[in-house]
């Protein structure tokens, strides 16, 4: 301390000094599952960045090879096409999954970012103000919105916005809408934890020593309510891809000749040709039917992959987009679980 400056007040004595990050790391190194999760996320990031460099101007458009479009004798995985070929799109599936990586990472990051920001903040405020007007308001709005299944609300809201400005409403608006719609579940789980934290002796002590509500919220309630957020984040990945894949699946399979319903031998076996060109539902956030996106690939691939009843003939058409989606969710889950375990290293 230099001479002439005011002396800093002495730190209050503490029975258990808070360990530093380095101490925590040294006393309990992250588990194997956390490292696996980080490694998987790193692979996704590398794939996304390399796709940005490799595909550059054609990143939003899947190339179509006319000879690969028909469903008869589609090309399966081989050395030339490691993931096979997606008939209908007429595109190499490895390239499609790779090209879709930056888009899907962006979609997931954007939605989860908005979801966590709103849900964490509002849930913590509601928990701290348990029984008060702010709590009642947040709970009322959250419970009301939460009473509608996410996918229905997301599609209805997006369809409404699409009607107003079809040219300007696209993927970014979808990301914003979905993030806003997801917050009630996050907020409710955070609120349950926050209201318990708000009654802890150390919070009462901080309050008695004159700490403001905002300080209590930011310094005590939010850091100690992080557990439900980490538990909820991987679960919120699922509805995103459900909406992006389920409606294209249903829409394409319902087209004339769609293979949606397995047909018994000798009964109403329509030719599978009319649905071969992928079609987007009218409320889809994707700009075109050649846009690389895992959910769309999965929805369409599931429809085509089960073209024949009782068989799994074209398994690659849904397996690889599915692995990309599940892999990302599992990676996020492993990282979140690892962080949560590491936060409670002394337990």
């Amino acid at each position: 301390m230099t001479e002439g400056t005011a002396p800093r007040p002495a730190e209050p004595p503490s029975a258990l000094p808070r360990p530093s990050v380095r101490e925590r790391w040294a006393r309990r190194p992250p588990g194997l599952s956390f490292l696996v999760g980080v490694g998987m996320l790193a692979v996704y990031l590398v794939a996304a960045l390399s796709a940005l460099v490799v595909f550059r101007s054609s990143l939003d458009q899947l190339p179509s090879t006319v000879a690969w479009v028909p469903l008869e004798n589609p090309i399966g995985p081989s050395a030339v096409h490691p993931f096979g070929v997606m008939a209908g799109f007429g595109t190499d599936l490895f390239r499609a999954v790779w090209q879709a990586t930056p888009w899907d990472l962006g979609i997931v990051a954007g939605i989860l970012g908005i979801d966590v920001f709103l849900g964490f903040f509002l849930g913590a405020i509601a928990g701290l103000d348990e029984g008060g007007l702010v709590d009642a308001l947040i709970t009322f709005v959250g419970d009301s919105l939460g009473s509608i299944p996410t996918f229905v609300l997301a599609v209805v809201v997006f369809a409404g916005l699409l009607t107003v400005a079809p040219q300007t409403v696209g993927l970014p608006v979808f990301v914003a809408v979905f993030g806003i719609i997801l917050w009630p579940t996050m907020a409710r789980t955070v609120r349950e934890r926050a209201r318990i934290i708000a009654h802890q002796p150390y919070v009462e002590g901080a309050r008695a020593s004159g700490a403001s509500s905002l300080r209590i919220l930011v310094r005590h309630v939010m850091p100690n309510s992080l557990g439900p957020v980490l538990a909820q984040i991987p679960l919120d990945v699922a509805p995103v891809f459900f909406v992006l894949s389920a409606f294209p699946w249903y829409y394409n399979c319902q087209l004339p000749g769609g293979p949606h319903v397995p047909v018994p031998p000798g009964h109403l076996a329509p030719p599978p040709t009319p649905y071969l060109v992928p079609v987007l539902p009218y409320f889809s956030p994707l700009p075109s039917n050649a846009f690389p996106e895992w959910g769309f690939l999965l929805g369409f691939g599931t429809c085509e992959g089960f073209s024949f009843p009782g068989g799994f003939n074209y398994w690659w058409m849904y397996l690889f987009p599915l692995l990309a989606i599940v892999g990302l969710g599992v990676a996020i889950g492993l990282v979140c679980d690892g962080i949560e375990r590491w936060r409670h290293f002394d337990r």
Binding site: P149, V156, F242, F247, Y282, P309
Partner: protein
């Protein structure tokens, strides 16, 4: 941030206890809480309708050339609220064509409420089977995984359930459907999809549709396929309906358990560290007794709360399974409406869904309070 809700002007400050001489409240804490929640439900429904009105009707009103497929609500907000609360849910003229001119008078448009009456019973039948299966699976699995300290139990359980939660349920449904197809066809001479009744070709091979089945899927007199088959002594149809319901319900249950598990496991884990459990363990009570006699009872209220919290997710899972198995239920109707661009039935459908979720959440909350009266409402 407003703080007007607190008596002393700061968030989270403890409420002052009632004055000593104040009269005893007429209702107990639980009853007061129940009445408050019950009174709140209509307000929440109106709020949901307001959102739907803002996102469905206002945009179309603002648009000069709306797409033909988008049918606006075409009524004022107050009129819409009044109509929905009084059961006037509009009409659907296109159904006459879809059902080959069915209905009592094909010239008259059919009210949506009639159509819902056909579509809702199969969904209820499926839920009646799926929910107990989900409970039987979720309760012990979550409890065991949360309780166990061995990474060999918890880590695989976490991985499997997280993967299960991320798998889109329509993919799981389609996989199961295709895996079952040939075996089911060989045994029942029927296909495992196409609703909770035998497929149309099965009826054609057995003398055509009986008079108690309308439009090839709506059964009479109750609307529940299994019950109606039993009432009409159609034993084979009942057996097939039972089997199909069981298959679909199992898919719903497994997919839902994956969602339920992640919340429930952390609850079981926190109970493991409770003082009375640690104390009982130190007195030599076996782990099995601690788990199934003490922890299992202690986690029940929290599990119920998680169940209330995840009802919308449950509905989403069931809807997707209905679509995958081409089961003419509530979910199928919603998917068909959304993808077909026919938005007019969506408002009453969402209205009905919100009623179910809000009432069900209230019932579950009250049961949880009954089991564990230490919460806010129970005080």
């Amino acid at each position: 941030m407003s703080s007007s809700g607190s008596r002393d002007g700061s968030l989270g400050r403890s409420r002052a206890p009632p004055a000593r001489g104040s009269p005893r409240p007429v209702l107990s804490g639980v009853a007061r809480y129940a009445v408050q929640r019950l009174l709140l439900i209509p307000a929440q429904l109106v709020f949901v309708l307001l959102i739907l009105y803002l996102v469905l009707d206002v945009p179309v009103s603002l648009t000069q050339n709306p797409p033909e497929s988008l049918l606006r609500i075409d009524q004022g907000f107050y009129q819409m609220v009044f109509n929905l609360f009084t059961g006037n849910w509009g009409t659907a003229s296109f159904v006459r064509y879809a059902n080959g001119g069915g209905g009592p008078n094909p010239a008259e448009p059919i009210p949506w409420s009639w159509i819902f009456a056909y579509y809702i019973p199969p969904s209820i039948q499926l839920a009646v089977f799926a929910l107990p299966i989900a409970a039987v699976l979720a309760y012990p699995v979550s409890l065991l995984a949360g309780w166990s300290r061995r990474p060999g139990v918890d880590a695989p359980a976490r991985f499997v359930t997280l993967t299960g939660a991320l798998l889109p349920v329509f993919v799981v449904g389609t996989l199961v459907l295709n895996a079952l197809f040939l075996g089911y066809l060989g045994y029942f001479q029927d296909v495992p999809s196409q609703g909770l009744l035998p497929a149309d070709f099965w009826f054609f091979n057995h003398g055509g549709y009986p008079s108690w089945i309308l439009y090839q899927f709506a059964t009479q007199p109750t609307g529940f396929p299994l019950v109606d088959a039993l009432i009409n002594h159609a034993w084979t149809v009942a057996a097939i309906s039972f089997t199909k319901t069981l298959i679909q319900a199992s898919v719903v249950a497994v997919a839902y358990v994956a969602i339920f598990f992640r919340h429930a496991r952390s609850i079981a884990r926190s109970v493991r560290e409770e003082a009375y459990i640690v104390g009982a363990r130190s007195r030599g009570i076996s782990e099995r007794t601690l788990l199934w006699r003490h922890a299992a009872r202690a986690v029940a209220p929290s599990f119920l709360l998680v169940f209330a919290l995840t009802i919308p997710e449950y509905l989403g899972v069931q809807f997707a399974v209905e679509v995958a198995f081409v089961d003419p239920g509530f979910g199928y109707l919603i998917f068909a409406s959304l993808t077909g661009g026919v938005l007019s039935p969506l408002v009453p459908l969402v209205f009905l869904m919100a009623i179910v979720v809000l009432v069900w959440a209230l019932v579950v909350d009250l049961i949880a309070i009954r089991l564990d009266p230490h919460g806010v409402a129970g005080r």
